[in-house]
């Protein structure tokens, strides 16, 4: 998309600077931290590249403005939108009408199809845009336009037989790169929008970006991939935690032998102290995860947290419970696909007995009998659950015993602290036995918690 009425090269002209500043302002409202030093950098960078190449222009801006991957994603979205709108606004103001191909009716659909396939295969951007226009006008004449842009794009695509996979049974057509096909669709969308704007003579109102899966998915219907993306970052952080204590100067022990050995260099004067290397703590972690219906939205999240934890801690045993408890460590060890894991858990492990309601008391009893013997001062127990007992006996004392046996006990509750102890929640009964109880319903909460388990000094060593 080349902008009409914008100089091709040279310094920053006032109009363009204003437009860029408006763009930065828009970025700020979407939460990208654009400081004034960044803006200065951006203008300095734009002095160095040619403005005629959109890719250079965009990259130069992005590298100076968007300083993380998330920022970059917002940047891409806004960049397209902002400059498209800016161009259209300008065009409206100057009453520029684009020349549309209104030529002969003998525009052969097959020829067009062939040309489009070629352009997509070659990845030629300009060609694709021109062909997108041709396709739109061809369809406009055939009267198949629905007026809804999204629908039209799909109709045109179908009529052009552009499958991303390309693997139709005739197999003569080579497969097209799905990314290129998507780019062509993007062009279609653009051109349709442009046509609408020209027809109506005004810009559609600008909307703020939808919340880009920045928060924890709250319904189980949401894409699991989104949860995983959120946890992927965590995964890396957890993996590097635990190494953190190395290199801190606190609490080091002098290694006499190595100190004496080094002191030979300085004539027997121990100038440089040598310390024993500090071994990072390797905690054994026991995770108990509630998978009942009252926490079903959170348990998807919790299961993926478990999944991530399994990658990072070698000594980790995980349990799921509803009315009864069942160990699932082996499933996580053998299966990496998240879907398969949740299926295996829900089908094989008989955690729901009769009613399907959580019975915390019974779970503690079972856990206390079967597993609590393995707990030691080095172990950390983490409970993921809402502490809603459905009116059954909480057996808090038994939970207390379990907490006593393990070095540290944490409780992660998927409900905001405000709701704790309302209704059948008995969080207050369990909380005194925990080393910490946290609300945990966003990845941010989880991150705080991870910092505590990996960073805080252990009460029992």
């Amino acid at each position: 998309m080349s902008a009409p009425g914008r100089p091709a090269a040279g310094g920053v002209v006032p109009g363009a600077a204003g437009s860029l500043l408006a763009f930065f302002e828009e970025l700020r409202t979407e939460g990208v931290a654009v400081g004034s030093s960044e803006i200065l950098d951006a203008f300095a960078a734009l002095d160095e590249v040619s403005w005629t190449d959109q890719r250079d222009f965009r990259e130069a801006l992005a590298s100076t403005i968007a300083k993380s991957q998330e920022d970059r994603r917002v940047f891409e979205l806004l960049f397209d939108r902002h400059f498209f709108r800016a161009t259209e606004a300008e065009a409206l103001e100057r009453e520029v009408q684009e020349q549309r191909y209104e030529g002969s009716d003998r525009l052969d659909l097959d020829e067009l199809r062939e040309a489009i396939r070629e352009a997509i295969a070659a990845g030629n951007d300009g060609e694709m845009r021109d062909l997108a226009r041709l396709a739109i006008s061809a369809f406009g004449r055939r009267g198949e336009r629905s007026g809804v842009i999204g629908v039209d794009v799909q109709r045109i695509r179908r009529a052009l037989e552009l499958q991303a996979r390309g693997g139709s049974s005739d197999g003569e057509q080579p497969a097209l790169d799905p990314d290129e096909v998507r780019r062509f669709e993007q062009h279609l969308r653009r051109e349709l929008e442009r046509a609408t704007i020209e027809r109506t003579g005004k810009l559609p109102p600008s909307r703020p970006l939808a919340e880009l899966d920045r928060t924890l998915p709250t319904s189980p219907t949401q894409d699991l991939a989104a949860v995983h993306r959120a946890v992927a970052q965590m995964k890396r952080r957890i993996a590097t935690l635990g190494h953190e204590q190395r290199g801190r100067r606190r609490g080091r022990v002098v290694d006499v032998r190595r100190t004496m050995r080094t002191s030979l260099e300085t004539g027997g004067v121990p100038l440089q102290l040598r310390y024993r290397p500090k071994r990072p703590r390797r905690p054994e972690i026991y995770v108990l995860c509630d998978v009942s219906t009252s926490v079903s939205s959170a348990s998807v999240f919790f299961l993926s947290v478990l999944h991530a934890l399994h990658d990072s801690f070698r000594k980790l045993r995980s349990f799921v419970f509803i009315e009864r408890i069942s160990e699932v460590s082996d499933i996580f060890e053998h299966e990496r696909d998240f879907r398969a894991i949740s299926e295996a858990i829900s089908s094989e492990r008989g955690v729901a007995d009769v009613s399907g309601y959580t019975d915390y008391g019974r779970v503690w009893l079972e856990f206390g009998e079967e597993i609590a013997e393995d707990l030691g001062p080095r172990s950390t127990a983490i409970v993921l659950g809402d502490a809603r007992t459905n009116g059954r006996e909480p057996h808090a004392r038994i939970f207390g015993d379990i907490a006593e046996r393990s070095g540290r006990t944490f409780w992660l509750n998927p409900e905001p602290r405000l709701y704790w102890n309302y209704g059948d929640s008995v969080m207050a009964a369990y909380e005194p036995f925990c080393d910490g109880a946290f609300e945990c319903w966003t990845t941010k909460h989880l991150e705080q918690f991870v910092n505590v388990i990996a960073g805080a000094p252990a009460p029992v060593e």
């Binding site: 990259e59 300083k67 890396r236």
Partner: protein, 317 residues
């Protein structure tokens, strides 16, 4: 401040990098160009093994600058990154002074006072300084490339210390004063994104995100490093690597590993990647027990489908 030769265009940088054995994509060429023109540090982020460190090396080869590398790790402090006083040498110097003084016992007090003055000035001079990578880069007479590798491994305090170096290209040493850069070093910081870097650091840098390359680009890279490998085999290999990357692995294969794999295929003289070849050599690209199981299950089976298995090959599962 002596200025190094600067590139004129993005294309020039890209060609230079290609000559140095690094096939840069659009954004890395552009950011390298901007870094040289604007004299700003570059923060390179991306998954492990996409060629972040290699970019710095290629830039150093291309521009003919010396590469100075600071490998970061947990607990790295200024004594290892900036400078350190060589106190053993200082001690020896003081001792030499003391023994030398015995020659004139009469005017001991006076001599001691004046010699202490001179000694103090003496022992805090550059002769008694260990230069560490950052100081070395700043005080170099020739322009250099400074690579600060895996900055996310250090703690935040260290980052704060870097700020002076990165924005003003100077280091203050209390005993000596401020040492300013004679030439502007080209600075690259790499990060695996294992923790969030501070805003202050990011603000001073250009940002470059490197991701796994597309099939076409990776093919070019592999071909560049193993020109003897048959092209169709190389393409197939890269496609398999991409297939493997699609899976949820603990450690997806890096570009370096696909190059290694290409070399291995060349070495064992494979002419196609069938199931057998794959299972023999996949430990080159997959390095975790559970990953190997998963890849064997998902990818190797697919390979079996795509090429008709040779006779007697069916029992390998």
């Amino acid at each position: 401040m002596a200025e190094a030769k600067q590139p004129e265009s993005v294309a020039e940088v890209r060609e230079g990098l290609a000559e140095a054995g690094y096939l840069a994509d659009e954004s890395s060429a552009l950011v390298s160009f901007l870094a040289q023109r604007l004299g700003k540090p570059v923060l390179v982020e991306g998954p492990a093994g996409v060629g972040k460190t290699e970019l710095a090396k290629a830039l150093s080869r291309d521009t003919g600058r010396k590469l100075i590398r600071l490998q970061c790790y947990e607990g790295l402090d200024e004594a290892k990154a900036l400078y350190e006083w060589n106190y053993r040498k200082q001690l020896l110097r003081i001792q030499a002074e003391a023994t030398g003084d015995h020659a004139s016992p009469g005017r001991e007090a006076e001599a001691e006072a004046s010699s202490w003055e001179s000694t103090r000035g003496d022992i805090f001079s550059e002769d008694f300084l260990f230069t560490r990578p950052l100081l070395e880069a700043i005080s170099a007479t020739e322009p250099v490339v400074l690579l600060i590798d895996e900055i996310d491994k250090t703690d935040q305090e260290f980052e704060a210390m870097l700020l002076e170096v990165l924005s003003d290209f100077q280091i203050s040493i209390p005993e000596l004063g401020v040492i300013e850069a004679r030439t502007r070093p080209l600075v690259l910081l790499t990060s695996n994104n294992s923790r969030e870097l501070t805003e202050a650091l990011k603000r001073r840098c250009l940002y470059l995100w490197l991701d796994y390359p597309s099939v076409e680009r990776e093919l070019e890279i592999v071909r560049l490093h193993t020109p003897d490998l048959d092209e169709s085999l190389a393409r197939r290999m890269v496609e398999v690597v991409h297939m493997v990357r699609q899976l949820d692995l603990k450690k997806p294969p890096s570009i370096a590993e696909s190059i290694d794999w290409a070399r291995t295929l060349l070495l064992i003289g494979a002419d196609d990647i069938d199931r057998e070849t794959f299972e023999q050599s996949m430990s080159i690209i997959v390095k975790h027990r559970s990953d190997i199981d998963l890849v064997a299950e998902r990818v190797a089976v697919k390979l079996g489908d795509m090429t008709p298995p040779p006779a007697g090959q069916t029992s390998s599962g």
